[in-house]
């Protein structure tokens, strides 16, 4: 009886595990070209940039960011109004359509890193974890480029 129950529970757990790994939003996500600029000390906020590609057949929703380099990290959007005034605000959830790519790049979306825990030094890297609406996650290593860097290829 106990043996049967164990088998049943094991099968259930495996099925559960498989269903999660099949349906997890993170499985369809490819994150590329993650970079950031070097900082002066830790008092100023930093920004990280990357592209997120949804390779799957369903919508995927990015809900948050985790990292140990900052006490607070949020996805922000910079925008410029018709008077030429720029502002920055939390972008909320980011929905990515099937086969679509969302780019976090200078002047638009960025990961805002507030309360840096250590200076961002050129040549080093840090980890960033993207959290999706089903709780699944993708971690990516962010290269720290020069202070005046413009992107991962330039």
């Amino acid at each position: 009886m106990i043996g049967k129950l164990t088998v049943f529970l094991t099968v259930l757990a495996l099925a559960w595990g498989i269903s999660i790994s099949v349906l997890a939003e993170a499985d369809d996500i490819v994150v590329e070209g993650a970079w950031s600029r070097a900082s002066i000390g830790t008092s100023r906020p930093g920004a990280a940039y990357l592209t997120i590609r949804n390779t799957g057949p369903e919508y995927v929703t990015l809900t948050g960011i985790r990292t140990d380099i900052a006490t607070r990290s949020e996805i922000h959007r910079s925008s410029t109004d018709d008077q030429g005034v720029t502002s920055m605000a939390p972008a909320g959830e980011i929905k990515i359509a099937p086969t679509d790519t969302v780019s976090l790049e200078p002047g638009g979306l960025h990961v805002m890193l507030m309360g840096l825990q250590r200076p961002m030094t050129e040549g080093e890297a840090f980890w960033l974890t993207l959290v999706f609406s089903d709780g699944s996650e993708v971690s990516v290593e962010v290269s720290i480029l020069g202070f005046a860097a413009r992107g991962p290829d330039i």
């Binding site: 002066i40 910079s78 410029t80 005034v85 720029t86 502002s87 920055m88 860097a149 413009r150």
Partner: protein
């Protein structure tokens, strides 16, 4: 046959009319419209503010007369737009080669509370060496923003922190201190260097 010709003529007339209307709109209300008089930055000689450069020297707008100038606003706690603008400008200055040395390139902070002279010096040292960083009292900064007909606004971001909304355009002036044009943030980058050259040339032809 005649009927068809008539339709053809009417179509041409209507087409021409639409084109004329479009051209009119473009120049008067559309993207080709000149900036309204109240929105154009003042001439350098009419601006009234006193600031300190990143080396601790007292400066004002009149300091800039004699060379073509690029002036822009920002703050060093700005993680996205400002480093991008400074790095864009650094690239334009490199593209200009020796001509870059004939320009004033001024970054004025809209956040004097955090951007001290030392902070400005440390920050701009990471970009093209010709770029100067100006700061000063909040009152004098406000007068500078007003002189350029720019905008800035302090926005709280929670936990006592704040960010600044601000005009991100780069203002171009000729060597006589007269406003020439702006380079807007979202403008294609290949327009920038010719615009700067025009400000330099305008100075030479008067």
């Amino acid at each position: 046959m005649q009927r068809r010709q008539l339709i053809g003529y009417s179509a041409a007339v209507v087409g021409a009319l639409c084109l004329a209307l479009f051209a009119g709109w473009w120049r008067v209300d559309g993207p080709g419209a000149p900036a309204p008089a109240g929105q154009r930055p003042l001439a350098m000689s009419e601006m009234d503010f006193r600031l300190t450069d990143h080396q601790g020297k007292e400066v004002d707008a009149v300091t800039l007369i004699g060379r073509p100038s690029l002036v822009f606003f920002g703050f060093t706690y700005c993680p996205d737009i400002c480093p991008t603008t400074l790095s864009d400008i650094s690239v334009w200055l490199s593209d200009l080669g020796d001509d870059a040395g004939r320009l004033n390139v001024i970054f004025i902070t809209v956040d004097p509370e955090r951007d001290t002279v030392a902070a400005m010096a440390a920050y701009i040292s990471n970009f093209h060496p010709i770029i100067q960083g100006w700061t000063g009292s909040s009152e004098q900064i406000a007068r500078a923003v007003e002189g350029f007909r720019a905008n800035s606004e302090k926005v709280p971001t929670g936990s006592g922190d704040y960010t600044m909304n601000h005009t991100a355009s780069v203002f171009l002036f000729d060597a006589n201190g007269r406003f020439v044009s702006t380079i807007d943030y979202h403008e294609p980058r290949e327009y920038a260097v010719p615009k700067i050259r025009r400000a330099i040339d305008k100075t030479e032809t008067g």
